[in-house]
Symmetry: C2
Subunit: 224 residues, 2 copies
């Protein structure tokens, strides 16, 4: 049997928690298997509560009324998905959706359990503050990229990120996926990719892009 | 003497707080008068703690390395400025700055006091979660405007917001200020303003804009 993350390992203050809170989490937590392509949030208005990612990958994104999508951040193993517990948050009037990008296993702590513990445990409430600050930071980073960075820097950053995710220089990705990643339009991505290709930094194939000069891309991505 | 907001009125759970926390706040809170034009954050790296706005107006914004500014939200009387206490937050790696837009009086609760109470009081920790959710919501709203709305809708929304702030149809505002407000460039604002003018919705003067048809602007701003 594979050695798997325990629910307790997601909470650094587990030992400090009251026994009844630990019991509540252990008795009420479900395990869910999420299939690739599934969208959480949006039309599916159910509030799942906290999702603790055991393995797999989720992408957080926002969607315009016209269906334009912008990726905000990704959640990997050991991350906690906070905004699936949005029903437990006062004052929250925005909607982040999640796409299951590959087969994902999560622990699901239902919203009423989250609410109860958060209203009684200062450690849990603090932990939520920290989680929210992390997500806020990730969103701000993305926004600053979109608002302030030149197109080639954003595209280079998106390619580098994809390289890290795929752990390969041969990226299986479409121009449309890159556009969502960058918060831009497909045509703009194609144009900018052609520029990077003309500089000898990438090779463009059907549904894939090969990175030829990682260091040069890295420099472009991190240019002011 | 003018009847002024008390520190306690900023905390809906004041009565539930422990006496020593109330004492700590009352003994350690300062009152600051902030002059228009002052920038808080940025080069001035001091961490002021929580600022409770008694009167006046602060504008939250981000700044690119090239000096491009994008307004995120505004804080008015009774609002709490959370991100001036960023040194108390783990995981926070973005920088929001504040501009004092008009003479502003605040209560300042120093960061060590914030940290101490937040680590002991579940009500305070919860309150910070709520504050952060509110700010997150405001930032997401702004971002969605910038990413998803057409230029004329964004400009109409900025004019309507300014009308509410000034409480007048005669807005004292430059194209540059509107550009920051919209997260766009001055030239783009000028072009879009000329379009609204050609439609008979606004009149453009030097350093001012007069709203001629509020309802039409409102419709444009709220169009999908």
């Amino acid at each position: 049997m594979k050695n798997e993350l325990a629910v307790s390992s997601f909470f650094p203050f587990w030992e400090k928690m009251e026994q009844r809170h630990r019991d509540l989490i252990e008795n009420r937590t479900n395990r869910l298997e999420l299939s690739p392509g599934r969208i959480i949030g949006g039309d599916d208005k159910s509030c799942l509560g906290l999702l603790l990612v055991i393995s797999g990958r989720l992408k957080a994104f926002i969607l315009s009324n016209q269906g334009r999508e912008v990726s905000l951040y990704r959640l990997f193993e050991r991350d906690i998905c906070l905004f699936t517990a949005s029903c437990t948050m006062n004052n929250m009037n925005f909607e982040i959706q999640f796409e299951v990008e590959k087969k994902t296993s999560v622990y699901q702590i239902p919203p009423d359990v989250v609410e109860e513990i958060q209203s009684e445990s200062v450690e849990m409430a603090q932990y939520v503050v920290n989680l929210m600050t992390s997500r806020f930071s990730e969103v701000m980073w993305t926004i600053e990229q979109i608002l302030f960075k030149s197109l080639d820097a954003r595209l280079a950053a998106a390619l580098i990120e994809q390289q890290a995710i795929d752990e390969s220089d041969e990226l299986i990705i479409t121009h449309d996926m890159l556009a969502k990643q960058m918060g831009s339009a497909r045509e703009v991505v194609t144009r900018t990719l052609n520029y990077l290709k003309s500089e000898g930094l990438v090779e463009i194939g059907r549904g894939k892009i090969k990175i030829l000069d990682y260091n040069a891309l890295y420099d472009i991505a991190n240019r002011d």
